[in-house]
């Protein structure tokens, strides 16, 4: 099993966000779906130790994540945040920075291509890209650390339908070419159907159901 969460409690500023949450996420494309404020993004942050739960355990391939070096874990399980958060500078500088974190010399053009951007984006100012382009740039940056798992926090929430479809096509292509597992957070059950084999539905900080997408999210 890729990830297991066992009775996880997490509070932020004294407010409970996750309450005794237990869930499993297998290898391959999976999805955490739920309404806004249900704790989806928080769950994602626990998977690579950007935060630790106050109670319970998070296991990655059977090992408690707290027993792992957090930096090594994050290079293996890389999170792409929801809102654009690129560093000042060009797209290439962002990608090379990520590569340096993992001690790698990234192939910038190849990574841009994987993220659906052409090579001309390398020299562009990251702050001046459109939201969709920034999402792709963050994806290219994350791929520079050569992760085995990608955590994607609502990668299409700020995009129109055409841009969303394009990003989804890019992610499916990534699955095919790199064979990395993904955990995608979304509030859109239709997107969960399109993008995942396994879904965990959460609400009010608890997992309400989980299983194969085909069983849980029947086409209405």
């Amino acid at each position: 099993m890729l990830f297991e969460l066992e009775a996880v409690d997490y509070s932020r500023s004294g407010t409970p966000v996750l309450r005794g949450l237990s869930a499993r996420l297998p290898e391959g494309p999976s999805c955490v779906a739920g309404p806004s404020g249900s704790g989806k993004s928080t769950l994602l942050r626990l998977l690579n130790r950007l935060a630790d739960p106050q109670a319970g355990r998070v296991l990655h391939r059977g090992e408690d994540v707290r027993d792992r070096d957090p930096l090594g874990l994050r290079r293996e399980v890389c999170l792409v945040p929801q809102l654009p958060a690129l560093l000042e500078g060009t797209v290439e500088e962002n990608i090379r920075f990520a590569g340096s974190c993992a001690g790698r010399e990234p192939e910038v053009e190849r990574l841009l291509g994987l993220a659906g951007l052409d090579g001309s984006f390398a020299g562009r100012d990251a702050a001046k890209l459109s939201v969709g382009e920034q999402q792709r740039a963050m994806l290219a940056r994350a791929l520079a650390v050569e992760p085995r798992v990608l955590l994607l926090d609502e990668p299409t929430s700020a995009l129109d339908a055409d841009a969303r479809d394009a990003i989804e096509a890019t992610l499916r292509e990534l699955h095919r070419r790199l064979e990395i597992s993904t955990v995608l957070v979304t509030h859109d059950l239709e997107q969960a159907r399109r993008m995942a084999d396994w879904v965990v539905r959460i609400d009010g900080g608890r997992a309400v159901e989980q299983g194969p997408v085909g069983e849980l999210l029947r086409v209405s």
Binding site: L50, L79, P81, F97, C101, M138, R141, A142, V145
Partner: protein
């Protein structure tokens, strides 16, 4: 240097006319600064008079131990004052103490070791006071910027941590900007000194009848000493403080409740 000047209490009192002008302007524009101006006047009279007598006593004793004690007190007060201005930085008092102490001791030590000043109270007290005061301001500004950016850019910091970056790597761009904030004011004033304004030491020496060239040279020495000390203070204060924003697992800490 030729003769010193003597200032009477009456002359000091006469200068309060200018303070009255400031109060009148505040009243006219309803800026509500009268109380603050009044407090500033009273505090400056009390504090400067007190320190004047302290300095006189230190000069009379001609004791380096008393100089060290005075500088230690200034460092303590400076760190306390700077901490008030950088409330968003947790546990900043000890880093500030270290930053101001190192800035003060290293700058004074260097100017003595280089033979610029003799190790005597009449040099060490005023230079030490200037160094600590400017170092305090630089450290406070740098820490203030650090605190603001660590909160305002938390999203970017966490996105950087999410790539497997260390806390240091994530904070480095912010540390650079904080250092610039802490030192740029003095750098800019050093660039324009003599063109737009005459710095205080030079003014004091000219008023006391010193040769203008001597006054300029002493002022240059002090400006360069200050540049070094503010850089030391700003770098140390921010370098020793930024880690308090992160956990040992390179996670961004939740900010304390307001």
């Amino acid at each position: 240097m030729t003769s010193s000047i003597e200032i009477s209490l009456g002359e000091v009192a006469a200068s309060l006319v200018l303070v009255a002008l400031a109060v009148a302007l505040s009243l006219w524009r309803r800026a509500d600064l009268e109380r603050d101006i009044g407090i500033a006047v009273v505090r400056s009279i009390v504090q400067l008079t007190a320190i004047g007598y302290v300095i006189q006593a230190i000069f009379d004793e001609d004791s380096l131990a008393l100089v060290a004690a005075l500088i230690a007190v200034m460092v303590l007060f400076g760190a306390t004052q700077a901490r008030q201005r950088a409330k968003r930085v947790p546990r900043s008092f000890v880093p500030l103490l270290i930053a101001l102490s190192v800035a003060g001791v290293s700058t004074l030590g260097l100017v003595v070791a280089l033979g610029i000043f003799e190790p005597e109270p009449r040099f060490l007290v005023p230079v030490g006071g200037m160094v600590i005061g400017n170092a305090m301001t630089a450290a406070a500004v740098a820490l203030n910027r650090l605190g603001d950016e660590m909160h305002d850019r938390s999203r970017e910091i966490e996105a950087t941590l999410a790539l497997g970056a260390t806390a240091t790597q994530a904070a480095t761009p912010i540390l650079r900007r904080a250092l610039r904030s802490g030192t740029i004011t003095l750098i800019d004033s050093t660039k324009t000194t003599g063109l737009i304004f005459f710095p205080g030491t030079m003014v004091g020496m000219l008023l006391a009848g010193a040769d203008p060239i001597d006054a300029v040279r002493l002022q240059l020495i002090l400006l360069y000493a200050l540049l070094g000390s503010v850089a030391i203070a700003a770098v140390l204060a921010t370098t020793l403080s930024y880690r308090s924003f992160f956990t040992p697992a390179h996670q961004l800490r939740e900010p304390p409740a307001p």
